[in-house]
């Protein structure tokens, strides 16, 4: 309880300082900090369309954040969410290519997750068999996935009538907005539910427990019959599941395109945003959830700040950087 309070206080302080420094930077550059913050933080909350848009942004970041968080639990620095998200999206596109009715939806979920898990199995197995550090493995696999998926989308899965993107999800297989005129689809509650499930998995399941033991002390794990290699596999697998889901949802549940862009513009960078969310949320699934909502609000707020005040988009990044820097300090821990 005390820890939680302290952690909240820390976050509050970090937020405060980051915003103060951000304000100074804006002021020096000739932009009005107060108006900027008002647009950035309040406008997204002032209108349901904007709020839902913010939530829609939080969903994929949350899912990729979970990938990283689960990895951390297992003592892994798994930065493969990026590539696995591409693979998830590719699976969805493959489903759209294969079937043209509602059955594309379950097929998309299946193929997307399967592709992502298969993709994550490569660095996982290389780590287990050949001792390849997961940082190298996942960075390389991310790039290979990048080019592979671009190639697939540019060739077999290209949309003949709109060649800059892949074939579209069949109408019947799309998850359309729950409220018309907004971006809120089933992806959002689904992602949040996943976070809760991951929490339950890590906290209560036997495998979650084994992952934690293996992650903190593989020697102990081994001595008492827990195979750390299995834990690595499971952690990679679960992580790929959420990352793959993120990719699938970006295709089946993100209006208006319901396809994968040839330059991967609707999945690119999600994995790295996820790391930010995971670190902000201190690796705790619920923390990651809150962090991703916050990041979603910032992303939504960025546009209103540009429109209402004319403050450039880059300030959001600067403030995010500062905020995270201050969070790294955990300034109040010593008290």
């Amino acid at each position: 309880m005390r820890r939680l309070a302290l952690s909240l206080l820390n976050t509050g302080l970090a937020l405060f300082l980051a915003f103060v420094l951000g304000a100074i930077a804006m002021w020096i550059s000739g932009y009005d900090p107060l108006l900027s913050y008002k647009s950035m933080l309040l406008t997204p909350l002032s209108d349901l369309t904007y709020l839902f848009s913010a939530l829609a942004f939080s969903a994929p970041i949350l899912l990729t954040g979970l990938t990283f968080a689960v990895g951390l639990k297992a003592g892994l620095f798994n930065i493969g969410a990026e590539g696995q998200t591409y693979m998830g999206a590719l699976g969805a596109v493959a489903a759209a290519y294969l079937t043209r009715d509602v059955s594309a939806l379950p097929l998309a979920a299946f193929l997307g997750v399967a592709f992502a898990v298969a993709w994550s199995a490569i660095p996982a197995l290389l780590k287990i068999w050949r001792g390849v550090n997961e940082v190298v493995g996942t960075i390389m696999m991310n790039w290979v996935a990048y080019w592979l998926v671009i190639m697939a989308v540019s060739t077999i899965f290209a949309n003949p009538s709109q060649p800059e993107e892949s074939v579209k999800m069949p109408e019947a297989a799309r998850l359309t907005p729950l409220v018309a005129g907004t971006d809120l689809t089933l992806a959002v509650p689904l992602a949040y539910l996943t976070a809760v499930l991951i929490y339950v998995f890590l906290r209560y399941s036997v495998w979650g427990y084994r992952i934690s033991i293996s992650g903190q002390n593989p020697t102990v794990a081994k001595a008492y019959g827990i195979r750390p290699e299995q834990a690595v596999l499971v952690a990679f697998g679960i992580g790929a599941l959420t990352a793959g889901l993120a990719g699938v949802l970006q295709v089946v549940a993100r209006p208006p395109s319901y396809s994968l862009a040839r330059n991967l513009a609707n999945v690119y960078g999600l994995g790295f945003d996820g790391i930010t969310a995971a670190m902000l949320g201190r690796g705790h699934p619920i923390g990651v959830l809150l962090a991703s909502v916050f990041l979603g609000i910032l992303q939504e707020g960025a546009r209103h700040m540009q429109i209402e005040v004319g403050t450039p988009f880059e300030f959001i990044r600067v403030i995010q950087g500062l905020l995270i820097l201050f969070l790294a300090l955990q300034m109040l821990r010593k008290i």
Binding site: V206, N217, T219, K222, A223, I226
Partner: protein
């Protein structure tokens, strides 16, 4: 050099009162033994003297001059060096580099002069040390020797040895004592921390006993072993438990022609052994003769190269290093208590933490573990209590075989007694125990059968009655 400690108090950042005002003098050319039960504050006191911890209050004088060592190097400059209980060489560096760390930063390489002098000191002490190997690869005994050489190289006038003999064979102990005596002759002082009364009786010029952070008694020769123990732990209550009955027939562990390699070194070479029901088989030997590999291969942490291992009826495992091999220090007692038996607390794949907590509470109760609560982290326990947690967890596993590797290392007299009693009780209940120890007293006290391990081989094997201590000591030293 005369060193004086005055009214030293230490409160750790977590609120532990380790020392409550201890005063102590160490005179030149003196061997001072420091006794006390686990957690009495011996190590803390000496870490303060050697600059590792800062005292909360109190003063240190060297030859009457007030000093405030900021770190171990400061203390070393004053002539005070400490060889740690949990050895403190830096892994990833060679033995020589570990000595050279103290030379400070410079762009030049380690001087050949240093190497020569280091080798000379080692030679004088009769130490054989592989200077150019990563210390991680050295056996514990050799690491300790490196530490001693390091201390002497840097001109220690006062050498603190914290439980040094836990990792040595009897001949090695003997040579260590020689070293201590030689240092004494040179007019240097030694503070000798231990739990072993016979050692105290042999080499101490004076004994100081600490109890719960206070000096509780001081003795000079001739010593009365019983009074020493009483001063340490209050009154000694020994509930003597005897081994009952002969070992059974049915094996719980069979090992045949086992070979284990570490890199391309054969560290276990064709070991055969059998542990039967109601039998304690003690494998004795100096550490670093392959026991660790043998044990860890039996429990499946390491891979065997050749041979057969059969375990009947499951096993429990008490490793030699509780902090690294038995516990996850950052996790709670509850989480630690169910390692390896998490399935017993799970329904449909989900663990019931309530049930696990009840189980932990029972362990705490049954094994007298002193802990703030079941959800406090394992790190917060003292070493003795950590060990009790491990022993408790393992004994409650209900396995037919217990693999106990140095189960009483670093434990005080009372706790040692307690753990040994538990092992005998379990044995009496029909369980087989594979005890690996470097403490001969322990082996003779509780084992049915003794095997001596030397350079990866079992060089002697027989019922305890037939294995004379002389012979065993010789075999351990490879004679």
């Amino acid at each position: 050099m005369k060193v004086s400690l005055r009214e030293i108090r230490k409160v750790f950042s977590d609120g532990t009162h380790a020392l409550r005002g201890v005063s102590l003098d160490v005179f030149p050319g003196e061997v001072l033994a420091l006794l006390g039960e686990n957690g009495a504050g011996k190590t803390t006191l000496m870490k303060i003297l050697s600059g590792i911890y800062r005292p909360t209050s109190g003063e240190i004088y060297v030859d009457g001059r007030r000093v405030k060592p900021k770190n171990a190097r400061d203390a070393l400059k004053l002539g005070i060096a400490m060889v740690h209980q949990h050895l403190s060489l830096i892994p990833g560096l060679t033995a020589l580099e570990n000595v050279a760390v103290l030379e400070g930063a410079s762009l030049s390489p380690v001087s050949t002069e240093l190497r020569r002098r280091v080798e000379k000191i080692a030679e004088e002490l009769g130490f054989e040390i592989e200077w150019d190997r990563d210390v991680e690869e050295l056996p514990l005994g050799m690491r300790q020797r490196v530490e001693i050489v390091k201390a002497l190289y840097w001109g220690a006038q006062l050498l603190i040895l914290d439980e040094p003999t836990t990792v040595l064979s009897p001949p090695e102990v003997k040579s260590l004592f020689q070293v201590v005596k030689r240092l004494k002759e040179q007019g240097r002082s030694v503070v000798y921390i231990t739990h072993k009364i016979p050692e105290v009786m042999e080499i101490a010029d004076r004994v100081v006993v600490l109890r719960r952070g206070l000096k509780s008694a001081e003795f000079s020769p001739p010593y009365d072993a019983k009074r020493l123990v009483e001063a340490m732990v209050g009154e000694v209550k020994t509930e003597a438990v005897e081994r009952l009955g002969k070992p059974g027939e049915r094996p719980v562990l069979e090992v045949k022609d086992l070979w284990v390699y570490d890199g391309d070194r054969a560290v276990v070479q064709g070991v055969d052994l059998v542990v039967r029901e109601r039998e304690i088989l003690a494998i004795v030997g100096v550490e670093g003769n392959g026991q660790e590999h043998l044990v860890e291969t039996i429990v499946g942490v390491r891979k065997r190269s050749r041979g057969m291992i059969k375990i009947y009826g499951g096993y429990a495992y008490i490793p030699d290093d509780r902090q690294k091999k038995a516990l996850v220090l950052e996790m709670s007692l509850v989480e630690n208590a169910i390692i390896g038996k998490e399935n017993e607390f799970a329904k449909r794949g989900l663990i019931s933490w309530q049930q696990a907590e009840r189980f932990t509470a029972k362990l705490i109760e049954e094994f007298g573990i002193v802990a703030p609560g079941p959800w406090s982290s394992a790190r917060q326990l003292s070493g003795g209590n950590q060990q009790k947690l491990v022993v408790g967890r393992e004994l409650s596993r209900g396995a037919k075989l217990i693999v106990a590797h140095q189960p009483t290392r670093g434990l005080d007299v009372a706790t040692t007694e307690y753990v040994q009693t538990l092992l005998i009780k379990t044995r009496n209940a029909g369980v087989g125990v594979l005890l690996v120890t470097s403490d001969l007293d322990e082996a003779y006290k509780i084992a049915d059968t003794i095997a001596v391990m030397y350079r990866g081989k079992i060089v002697a094997y027989g019922p305890v009655e037939e294995m004379g201590i002389e012979l065993v000591g010789k075999k351990m030293a490879g004679l």
